[in-house]
């Protein structure tokens, strides 16, 4: 199948092109889309792209940081303000993939991909759209609706900077290192006051059709101290709300079995 490519100088023009053609896909890093092109996927007829560098900018204002949708994992890794996010960006693919894979594309990546998106979920992420056609959406809502047509052009992701680097945790479980797909990944924001957790946020990747917030775990963490006995209730709730799949990486059974173990390691700061 012949796939036509339409290139625009301005993000706004690309957004218009995308909204006026329901068959068109936006091409970012291409690490997922170009696979389809190479396979001759019949779903692909038009690719829309832009050379507008504004889509790649990373900017901070106050307590929030806006990451342009076309910023790559390597761009994030080169940005010192985003050092708390580096473990999640480094978890994506090998060096070449990280030079290509974008933050915006990661929002659309099917499970078991979506490691960076999982981290975004605990950072109060808001998704911004180009062309002014659509209002900002909380990331959770965006993910729940992402398969819907039409596909608007994501301009960027706005995240909240953690008040302390130690409050943010990320862990990726994989069997083949160093390049690895997720058995699962986990992110947590664990603000503490007087030694007790207040306002915990926890998210999983590869444990449901999209990365998801784990609200039962979050509730079980409210007011606890982060020690062996304090995290018991959270570990007991580790699978509540999860709906993992069986795929080439791991079975559903295995994912459920090991989730409490890895959650405990994440909460106790033991890594994996």
């Amino acid at each position: 199948m012949v796939v036509s490519v339409r290139t625009y100088d301005q993000v706004g023009e690309a957004a218009n092109a995308l909204s006026s053609d329901r068959e068109a896909y936006f091409l970012a890093g291409g690490t997922l889309l170009m696979r389809g092109v190479n396979e001759g996927s019949r779903a692909l007829s038009t690719l829309v792209r832009t050379t507008d560098s504004s889509l790649r900018q990373i900017q901070s204002s106050g307590s929030r940081i806006e990451i342009g949708a076309a910023a790559t994992m390597s761009d994030i890794l080169a940005n010192r303000e985003l050092s708390f996010l580096h473990p999640a960006a480094r978890a994506v693919g090998g060096p070449a993939i990280r030079n290509m894979a974008t933050a915006g594309g990661n929002l659309f990546a099917r499970t078991p991909y979506g490691d960076l998106t999982t981290a975004f979920l605990v950072l109060d992420a808001m998704v911004n759209f180009a062309g002014g056609s659509q209002a900002q959406l909380p990331l959770g809502q965006f993910l729940a609706e992402r398969e819907k047509q039409p596909r608007p052009l994501v301009a960027g992701i706005s995240i909240e900077r953690p008040t302390s680097a130690a409050a943010f945790r990320f862990l990726k479980v994989s069997r083949v290192k160093p390049e690895r797909l997720s058995v699962m990944c986990m992110a947590a924001l664990l603000p503490q006051s007087g030694g007790r957790v207040q306002g915990a946020r926890v998210a999983y990747g590869a444990m449901a059709p999209t990365p998801i917030r784990m609200t039962a775990v979050e509730q079980a963490l409210e007011g606890v101290t982060l020690d062996e006995s304090g995290v018991q209730a959270a570990a007991a709730a580790a699978n509540t709300g999860a709906s993992p799949a069986t795929d080439a990486i791991a079975s559903e059974w295995y994912r459920r079995e090991v989730a409490p173990v890895h959650l405990k390691r994440l909460l106790l700061g033991q890594g994996s």
Binding site: V5, R49, A96
Partner: protein
Amino acid sequence: MSKTPVQFRVNGQDRAVFAEDAENLLECLRRGVGDMSPKYGCGQGTCGACTVLIDGEPHLSCLTLAQGCGGRSIETTGGLADGPNLHPLQAAFMEHFAAQCGFCTTGMLMAAKALLDKNPNPTRDDVVEAIAGNICRCTGYEPIINAILEAASRGSNSVVGGAV
């Protein structure tokens, strides 16, 4: 089918080609430029055999849109040797038996070059991480890792004479 003119540098030489529609850079280099050194393994980003450097950074050419490469500088294994003089990485690969069937070799060499250009004294872990996206089904990786470390210890910018 439409053709888009693209101009880029390949191994230091200006090249002008017509990229076809959504053609990937790997196809474009092999078909349009005639540089057969990057290999097609999977077309899926998983094997790394197609690794080339774009502006000094490793990229998978099978997943890179050729018409997006206008004005960029591309390096392939085809440009490593200087006439009969092998690049130190090539010489070290040969001495350490780091190539068996050889299909992964050009991707490995480019991933290694990207590493040594930035970090001339890598640790073993740095080397393992640098070739994390490159699959080898023959060697078990150890000879490749040793060859890259050896090339680094010799200084990857020195030229190794007459070894063909």
